[in-house]
């Protein structure tokens, strides 16, 4: 009996494609954000509000993942930016290969910002690198304050947490301070912006996005 040392990532194949994508994004200076949350916390609504506010001269594209239907792509297409639905057909996450495939006919040199809306799931998408600059986790106030403790991986890996639906705070027993404290306890450096589809926090979110865009345009390496 002998042992062969392997020491390879299990998702080596995904990692390889993600690294190629990251290199392409860097070359064409495309900012790529990967938005992850539970189903129903408001990813698509946030994107609608974001696309609505984005300057139409900005070259933005959206990939949105779901198990079934083109509903989200239809919702998002009305703002005039190119949107593509990725139907995973049952798979609980997006992987790098799906991104590569759906980007094949999109010229990256004509895109400044690529927003990826992952499948609603706080667990599986965490394991799959899509070549993005950063992951953004969204937590809504109709969920539990302890979500960061229950699903720590995604909070550890995300640069920004969007605390959504804060307009509902007066009506739900949700302790926003505790939720933020929980997120910071699993990831001390995580940035947090409170948002609502009614408009709260959207300026801060757009500012955050614009700053990232400017950094990528200037050729600065934006985190991992």
């Amino acid at each position: 009996m002998s042992q062969i040392v392997v020491e390879k990532k299990v998702l080596n194949e995904n990692q390889k494609i993600a690294a190629e994508l990251r290199e392409k994004f860097r070359e064409h200076r495309v900012l790529v954000v990967n938005i992850i949350s539970s189903p129903g916390s408001g990813k698509t609504t946030l994107l609608e509000r974001t696309l609505e506010r984005l300057d139409k001269s900005k070259r933005v594209a959206v990939l949105t993942g779901d198990l079934q239907t083109e509903n989200d792509a239809r919702r998002l297409a009305q703002w005039g930016f190119p949107v593509k639905q990725i139907i995973t057909g049952g798979t609980c996450h997006l992987d790098a290969k799906m991104i590569e495939k759906h980007l094949a006919d999109w010229p990256l040199e004509k895109i400044d910002l690529l927003i990826i809306e992952n499948v609603g799931n706080l667990v599986c998408p965490t394991s799959y690198d899509l070549g993005e600059h950063c992951k953004i986790v969204m937590l809504s106030v109709t969920e539990g304050e302890d979500k960061p403790l229950k699903y720590p991986s995604i909070f550890v890996k995300s640069e920004l947490m969007l605390l959504s639906k804060v307009d509902l705070l007066p009506y739900v027993p949700f302790d926003a301070e505790l939720a933020k404290q929980n997120a910071r306890s699993v990831h001390p450096g995580i940035e947090i912006i409170e948002t609502s589809c009614k408009g709260q926090g959207l300026d801060a979110w757009m500012k955050w996005l614009e700053a990232k865009l400017a950094a990528v345009k200037a050729g600065e390496a934006v985190s991992a």
Partner: protein
Amino acid sequence: MHELSIVSSVIDQLDELKKQHNGARFTRVGLRVGELAGVDVDCLRFGFECVIKDTVWEQLALEIEEVPRRQRCPACNAEFRAENWATACPQCGEEATVLIAGEELQIAYVEVDE
């Protein structure tokens, strides 16, 4: 939930490795799974049994090393196990400590029958 696709990735890599080693008979594979890897170890074991059944890998044993989350303190260099999500340094109290272990999802080794 995605443990089955993770098992498939493991088996794909083992198929490749087996080729590189001229069809050697692997008896055991060792995986390393960090506590932050987003992988449920019981699901992984179950998925593994399902995937190898009635294949050339049917006799392959699976060993999983679970890796706890560890942090390093940039202020005093202490390294510590982050238990119950307490990431502040137990030695000097610094809050912004850095993750150094716990995200692993790796094939560590295979054992070969010779």
